[in-house]
Symmetry: C2
Subunit: 422 residues, 2 copies
């Protein structure tokens, strides 16, 4: 029997309401395989923790605190935005990683992130061959943007979608009440710079039990001001009010972001505003309707209080599967969600080669967007609804959700050399 | 025994997550007093419905739908922003009200709103004396701004406060994870143009279990840019990140709203941005930290999915009390929340004369704000915590909260004359 080797886990990119549920899945499962996995370390602030030998000793956290990660938003060990370049360009970084891994006998690398992180994970997986350091690298998918290929969905997306769908419904009921003598238009800006998955979720706010006029602006559709204003005007004339869900990534025919349309502050600085105030102002100027606007920003990806139970379960399952793949000897793979049936919704965990995942971006398929470009189709609805199903409330105390803060005790450094991040 | 007379109920001003819970309390209770109260009518879009004789026949709604109002945000009958002037200036409007009331034998007037509405309600209550039309007018308090006098708190406020406290906690955990290599600052803009009650709730996000650096900008405190930036900088140097909760009503020493500081769009229009992007940009320019910002707008007052159970209970109780006051013969009063004890929290319903309520605005007491002007005191915390206690989740179906839409059938008009709103 071979000696157990240690595991390294890190969080990467924008965090979500459920990335810690994946961490929980990884850690709780790794603790079950003591014959193969020794100590569990986490990178403080993602891969930066590995490069700077700033490792967190997960063994110092109680089982209760690790279990509480399942209902805690944000990234419990810290995240980062840092993409390793190719082996030739970033040789010093890869050599440093191997130094750190060797010093702490790390044989398993679990990286929890989106497309860029899958690329980093793939490169680490190749260290076995390219630099003769035996390591297994497994990617755990995560992104509210839902833009990874192969997997049916990405943990983090469904909870953001549930939040945006519920919030759009709630705010639409509000503006409906105000429409006669105060405000006719409500504009909500959502995340998703390249893909309109989150914006699409706004369309779920309206259904046969709760019909609401909602106009969606997808980043996949070039913004046409005249057509858009006509659509909003028609909605207000029919319903008395209208809600607009606008993706931060919407661009006009010149390829310019809506949010950048010449907005300047007193000092002449550009880019102050978001897309929502631009769209709202446009409606006010052209149609004379009174408006309110909101920008959800971090609220939408941190809203663990309204997480999708399906999302939490899948995030945990993929963390668990990553460890099971590792102990079964896999390398350079990512566990995925496979949709087995839609009604009733059934899913299982699959596996994808990282080569097929890294640097591929999944946009909304054209058949998910209505032909006018402003709504979601029945097919899109059928895809989204099972993902937002179920509530998984965190515990509350004193009226507030109780989230865990880990001790995050540093592992003593073994290397003499500091490493400067490039 | 006198013949039962009909009741009129209307919603006024900005709606809340629980104004319909008060409607539910009024309607369910009125239905119990059939010996005194005949039909129940609602004004479509508040007092406008009375002026235009656009009454809704509440009798056509099922008991189940009325019960569902308790968990439905927005204003189920429509609201309005419309303040009646004094009897001399607006004689035509008062005469019209009496015409409509007479035509439909309305003897009870229940008005659900904030400070302006209390004033309108007071004027209607005086019609008995001033224009010899017998009517009892009872005001049901409602405002997320929590700025009505006498009552310990206003229904609607506590749910907005709970939402802002929870959202600030969640987004702060998010920015904490991102702070090392991406974003150090999160700015959240909240409502409350004159009073900082909602902004204060952001301070609850940090407590002994979850310590977070939060800087609050209250409308009660004149904005001092240098002092504010120094404070934020100190927080980032200590914690690595900082959250700012800014009230939309914050002004600088010249009395200018932060949100209005020279922000212009491509056409030169002012007032496009909110306070959040201005504050965030200021931090970025002066301190070089990277930032995200959110504007909660309607989301904070419509978020029934995260309502305070205490708030829902009080909203319902005040609706019920309004009817009980009416059938007991009262006029020109408002039921209030009286705080009997803080630990354990005990409250009961009291009553206030409308003369003492109308046009009085309750700001944050100075002893609720820390001496540096950027935080809440223990006294403020003790006031706020019982209000946000308890969760009262709406029912869900298909992953979304299920809110009722009433039939809102119009009562046939009896008057020949239309009335033009001035």
């Amino acid at each position: 029997m071979t000696k157990p080797r240690n595991a390294f886990y890190a969080q990467s990119g924008g965090v979500t309401a459920v990335i810690n549920a994946s961490a929980c899945g990884v850690i709780e499962t790794a603790r079950l395989y003591q014959d193969k996995i020794g100590r569990i370390y986490a990178g403080r602030n993602g891969i930066l923790g590995a490069l700077t030998e700033d490792l967190i000793d997960v063994g110092q956290e109680t089982a209760g605190d690790i279990a509480a990660l399942r209902h805690t938003p944000g990234g419990a060990f810290g995240s980062c935005r840092y993409k390793l370049k190719g082996l030739e360009q970033s040789r010093a970084e890869y050599e440093r990683l191997i130094e750190v891994f060797k010093a702490h006998d790390i044989g398993y690398f679990f990286y929890n992130g989106g497309g860029d992180s899958a690329d980093t994970c793939l490169k680490v997986s190749q260290l076995s061959a390219s630099m003769a350091y035996p390591i297994q690298a497994i990617h755990v998918p995560k992104t509210i943007d839902n833009d990874l290929p192969i997997t049916d969905c990405c943990p983090g997306f469904a909870s953001a979608a549930k939040y945006i769908a519920a919030s759009t419904r709630e705010a639409s009921l509000d503006v409906a009440s105000m429409s006669k003598a105060s405000t006719q238009i409500f504009v909500l800006e959502v995340m998703g710079r390249h893909a309109g998955w989150i914006a699409a979720a706004g369309g779920l706010a309206s259904d046969e039990h709760c019909e609401l006029p909602i106009v969606i602006l997808f980043p996949e559709i070039t913004f046409d001001q005249g057509k858009f204003l006509a659509r909003v005007d028609a909605m207000v004339k029919q319903y008395g009010f209208c809600s607009v869900v606008v993706s931060e990534g919407v661009k006009n025919a010149e390829g310019q972001f809506l949010a950048d349309q010449g907005v300047k502050d007193a000092f002449g600085h550009a880019k102050l505003g978001g897309a929502a105030p631009v769209v709202a102002g446009m409606i006010g100027d052209a149609l004379g309707y009174r408006y309110h606007w909101a920008v959800a920003d971090y609220l939408q990806r941190a809203a663990r209080h309204l997480a999708s139970a399906t999302d939490v379960e899948q995030a945990y399952a993929l963390g668990r599967a990553a460890v099971e793949l590792a102990v079964a000897g896999h390398n350079a793979v990512m566990p995925t969600i496979v949709r087995r049936s839609e009604q009733p919704y059934r899913w299982e965990v699959g596996v994808a080669a990282l080569e097929r995942v890294a640097n591929v971006e999944k946009k909304m398929p054209p058949e998910f967007i209505t032909t006018d470009g402003y709504g979601i189709t029945a097919e899109c609805r059928a895809y989204l609804l099972p993902l937002i199903a179920g509530e998984d409330y965190p515990p509350y105390s004193n009226g507030l959700p109780q989230y865990v803060r880990l001790k995050n005790v540093a592992v003593p450094k073994r290397l003499k050399q500091e490493f400067n991040i490039g």
